[in-house]
Amino acid sequence: IGEIRRFIRDDGLVKVSRTLKESASRIRKFKESFIKEEGREPTVQEISQKTGLTPEDIINAMEAVQEPTSLFSPIFE
């Protein structure tokens, strides 16, 4: 069990913090090229199909890199 824990800690999880940002930039790139080709925004499911990321990962990644939404920030407390 200690093994499993160590494996995930040392190997899997360093990746996690890195991949959140990597995923976000992959999503952005895919989105840009999709818009160029199709003339519209891709849906989360289309992004999921093309990048292999789960919808949850996509939401999570976008949340992690989100800049404070300046337009709305005054109303958030």
């Binding site: 999503i27 989105k31 519209r40 925004e41 891709p42 849906t43 989360v44 499911q45 289309e46 992004i47 919808p55 949850e56 996509i58 939401i59 999570n60 976008m62 949340e63 939404t69 709305f72 005054p74 109303i75 958030f76 407390e77």
Partner: protein, 143 residues
């Protein structure tokens, strides 16, 4: 379009920590439908605003109230209900007006945002009993 029917009901404390929690929960649940990231963002803003209102207005910042976030996916539509059991709204029509607010430093735009970001919106409220905001969002691609 989708035949999927799914539901989730969340009960949470009226603490500002839960605004972010509710926002992510709604976004993740919504991702089962064919929404774009921009539409997901609109859902997040609508849910944030509705939950903030429960905390700030409904419970006047008391942390011991309960907020219910009820979400259903049916017939390709996302239905979201945000409910509190707080002070309620005297005049719903007035509350819906842009820049109407009952607290000094606020902008009075929350309900306006919800109304403009969601396809349908309805408020049911009884003073002294609480407020329910019901909204529907339909993926644009499916229309």
């Amino acid at each position: 379009m989708e035949m999927i029917k799914n539901r989730a009901r969340i009960e949470m404390s009226s603490m500002s920590e839960n605004i972010g929690f509710a926002r992510i929960a709604a976004a993740t649940f919504a991702a089962q439908l064919n929404f774009t990231l921009a539409e997901i963002e609109e859902i997040k803003v609508a849910v944030s605003e509705a939950v903030s209102n429960c905390i700030i207005h409904g419970y006047e910042n008391r942390p011991d109230g309960t907020i219910v976030l009820n979400m259903t996916i049916e017939d390709g539509k996302l239905k979201i209900e945000v409910e509190d059991f707080g002070v309620g709204i005297e005049d719903i029509e007035a509350a819906m007006q842009p820049s109407f607010t009952t607290s000094e430093e606020r902008m009075g735009l929350g309900l306006v945002f919800i109304n403009s970001f969601m396809n349908e919106m309805e408020i049911i409220s009884t003073p002294g009993e609480g407020t329910l905001v019901r909204m529907v969002k339909i993926p644009e691609k499916s229309e």
